[in-house]
Symmetry: C2
Subunit: 489 residues, 2 copies
């Protein structure tokens, strides 16, 4: 943080800007192992708050946490044909243990469908054992060649929900329910608006019948797949013999879903909200919501201001007793660093509100609050500080979502567009393009080859255009579904 | 749980009893990967409550969470001589990634000192950056040959604290502080009394100057090493060039500590509190504190009793608003299972309090509470149920600790003992033996070879005998320190 060099701007080089923020806000660091990152306390603090909020929602919807082994026998991965094809090329393989070569190599889980449904098959006998609603918080490994901090790393942290149901209808409902849980979380906590919908077959999870996704738009107008939820049908239950006795006395294979979000969300948060001065963290996910910077010119002033700061911090911490977790306050007591340098640093770190507190403020029984998102500055009375800060934080949280939503909409193209114009758009500013699609994989592939854009989702009804295009963007045949096209992370 | 076969008793076969409880209370299950376990929701729920309580204590003492890579370059492990010697024989090795042979094999972390202190060396420049107080919640792998659910598995979950300090004194203080945090947690939450003290050199952590440990006595009189805290001196800082500029302007290597507890604690909880009917969970760690079993003989009675149960559960859940987490209540609504069978099942699962609720109870405006620990049964008025249940839970928590402490003391030998008697004791009932030790590794090794007993700790002062033996248990030379001997897990 002693680094005073100006941040690369988003306009100059979005990718360099992103890496610099992640490093300088101390969210993460490179590790000596290629492609693996170290998540530093300020980054992990955000992830912990994400975990807590999601975990509460999972439990409210009836799920329980469990833990399954890191290692997956190689033979397991091979039992579901599409699944192994999708994951085998990017596995890490343990061949030796305890100084000896293993008889069967062990795969480090890239995802846990295979081992989890193997266990479910042991636990489920009858329809009475269903639905079985399990979630796991874990690390997984996918051997990626090109990695980016948080966005794509060899090892990452995530949660993976795995459920088994008696009917396909219930499994579908579950897959959609968890997509909704993700969307709510991303909007209410991350202030990151998303479009939900279904993936095309080409973009489906390896082994799923259907994949649903939440897609967010980053500030470089590229899409980020922020969370997915899969209707697995009976693909895995058949591969792992996950059968149950039905209520009618027959026997059937169970219907499965799986769904996950990962530490990638921290990267999404940076790319949704960061600006050219650094990070901006939505209050609900900020490990520190308000930082108090004391201003003084003498020892006497220093002790007076710090004393007041302590009193204020104690009041703010105790203030909102009804809320789960009171206000999270930090006092920057460091001596020998000028207030301006501290402002600069806390802006880089993205703390939502800064309080400037000097002797003249105290004389007026006030403090000055500065919003990180808008830099708006206003004095507030110390008498009503608790309410005012809590209120300001709520406004920041709401405004950040509004700003992000407006940015997304102003970078979305919903009017009819020719394929030439589409290509120009994808070479230039990018963004989301709503266009007709004939449903053909050939068109999808050709567009991808031409422009690097992919179908992000076939959007859910509420996101569809009022008057969707009638013909396919590429071939001009009748459109079967509206598709959202974009370049993506 | 449909398994009605009686549990093996502790007296008959403690080891079989333990495995049966873990499986039948659905804490964990065997996995298809040798030596790895699946932690089921009822076991993971206990671990989650342990995590939450410990994490709060770590944060109160100034630590922050972070996350470091699963993979450790083979060359890193070799940098600290004792460390590699201790861990190399039990590592799992990744030799292939993304379909290719790796240039340098990657070790799956057996513990993370090496990679963490490598990162610390990047982050620490000056005394101003110290102390650096980090904790990580993670999975680790040690290639054990003989495994037991929770107690010794190839992969386990744990936390590992890692800190860097400017002076040896501060590091020592930290190592002792965290030992105290562990002890407090084990006694206050697990109701598992422990003896704290220092390990002999032979039992030290590979790479530490000193290892401190919390040792608990299980019901078979064997010791369980429940948590350790290490003063690492400058061993790792020298190996990883973790230097800092001192306040005086010089340069010095930092002083490190590390400390950890693992899912092994769940096994310790079972072996401390389980009885011949199943598990007994101390209330503070119980995912469900009270289970309501409705009693009825007709549909009419059923709806009346369940309606009352719903009302009671809602009241209990809302009752203790001041506490972090209100009462955790479950109603066993299953139809077609007799109350007696439900009692049996909940006893197996170890829920601290059972409430029996039938129509005659409702007529008397009462319910019957049954303690799992003592099986004591008493009617309580529905008017004061919240207070009464909360109070009962507090008493159970306290009494479980008292009972465990008394059991430990009655199986400890503090009177002078001949080596022959010691050997007989270790062949028979076992227990903790406080005896003199000359400090010689030869005596320690011979005793271990003879009896399988090891020095668990050189106990801290408060645990030492009033009149410790003056001579070594084995050789009769003057004793340098009192030692606690026991066979151990």
């Amino acid at each position: 943080m002693a680094d005073d060099k100006k941040l690369t701007t988003r306009a100059d080089d979005f990718s360099a800007w992103y890496n610099e923020i992640v490093l300088r806000a101390e969210l993460a660091d490179y590790s000596p192992v290629r492609g693996c990152m170290v998540i530093r306390p300020d980054g992990y603090g955000i992830w912990e708050r994400m975990q807590r909020a999601l975990d509460d929602k999972f439990k409210e919807t009836g799920h329980r946490n469990a833990y399954f082994p890191l290692f997956i026998p190689e033979s397991f991965l091979k039992k579901e044909a599409e699944h192994v094809e999708g994951f085998a090329p990017e596995t890490a393989v343990v061949t030796h243990g305890g100084g000896k070569k293993l008889e069967e190599p062990l795969i480090i889980r890239p995802t846990s469908e295979t081992i989890i449904y193997h266990m479910f098959a042991k636990w489920v006998q009858s329809y009475r054992d269903l639905p079985l609603l399990i979630n796991q918080w874990a690390n997984v490994v996918r051997w990626e060649m090109r990695t980016r901090l948080f966005l794509r790393t060899l090892e990452f942290l995530w949660q993976e929900g795995h459920t088994a149901h008696a009917t396909h209808g219930e499994a579908e409902e579950e897959a959609r329910r968890m997509l909704g849980v993700y969307r709510d979380f991303m909007e209410s906590h991350m202030a990151m608006p998303v479009i939900t919908g279904q993936k095309s077959n080409a973009e489906r999870f390896a082994g799923a019948l259907k994949t649903y996704s939440c897609e967010a738009m980053m500030q470089d107008n590229k899409a980020l797949q922020a969370g997915t939820s899969h209707d697995l049908g009976q693909n895995f239950s058949k591969a792992f013999d996950l059968k149950f006795q039905t209520e009618a006395g027959g026997e059937d294979f169970a219907w499965n879903t799986s769904w996950g979000v990962s530490t990638r969300l921290v990267g999404g948060l940076v790319m949704t909200h960061g600006d050219d001065s650094g990070l901006r963290i939505p209050p609900l996910l900020a490990p520190t919501e308000i930082v108090i910077v004391p201003i003084y010119r003498s020892d006497e002033e220093r002790s007076k201001v710090l004393e007041a700061a302590d009193r204020i911090a104690a009041n703010l911490k105790a203030w909102d007793r009804r809320a789960p977790g009171r206000l999270r306050v930090h006092i920057d007591r460091r001596d020998g660093i000028k207030p301006g340098a501290k402002y600069y640093e806390w802006e880089m770190r993205g703390v939502p509100v800064r309080m400037e507190l000097g002797p003249r403020d105290l004389d007026k029984n006030q403090a000055v609050l500065v919003r990180r998102d808008t830099r708006e500055k206003a004095p507030v009375s110390l008498n009503t500080l608790g309410e005012d800060v809590a209120d300001l934080l709520r406004r920041i949280q709401r405004d950040m979502l509004t700003v992000a939503r407006e940015r997304r909409e102003s970078n979305s193209t919903r009017t009819p567009i020719t394929y030439d114009n589409f290509r120009q758009l994808m070479e230039g500013p990018g963004g989301f393009v709503y266009a007709g699609w004939c449903g053909g994989e050939a068109c999808e592939q050709e567009i991808k080859d031409d422009t690097k854009a992919t179908i992000r989702v076939l959007p859910d009804e509420e996101f569809c255009s009022a008057e969707p295009a009638a013909t396919c963007l590429k071939c001009g045949r009748p459109s079967l579904a509206e598709a959202v096209w974009a370049k993506a992370y």
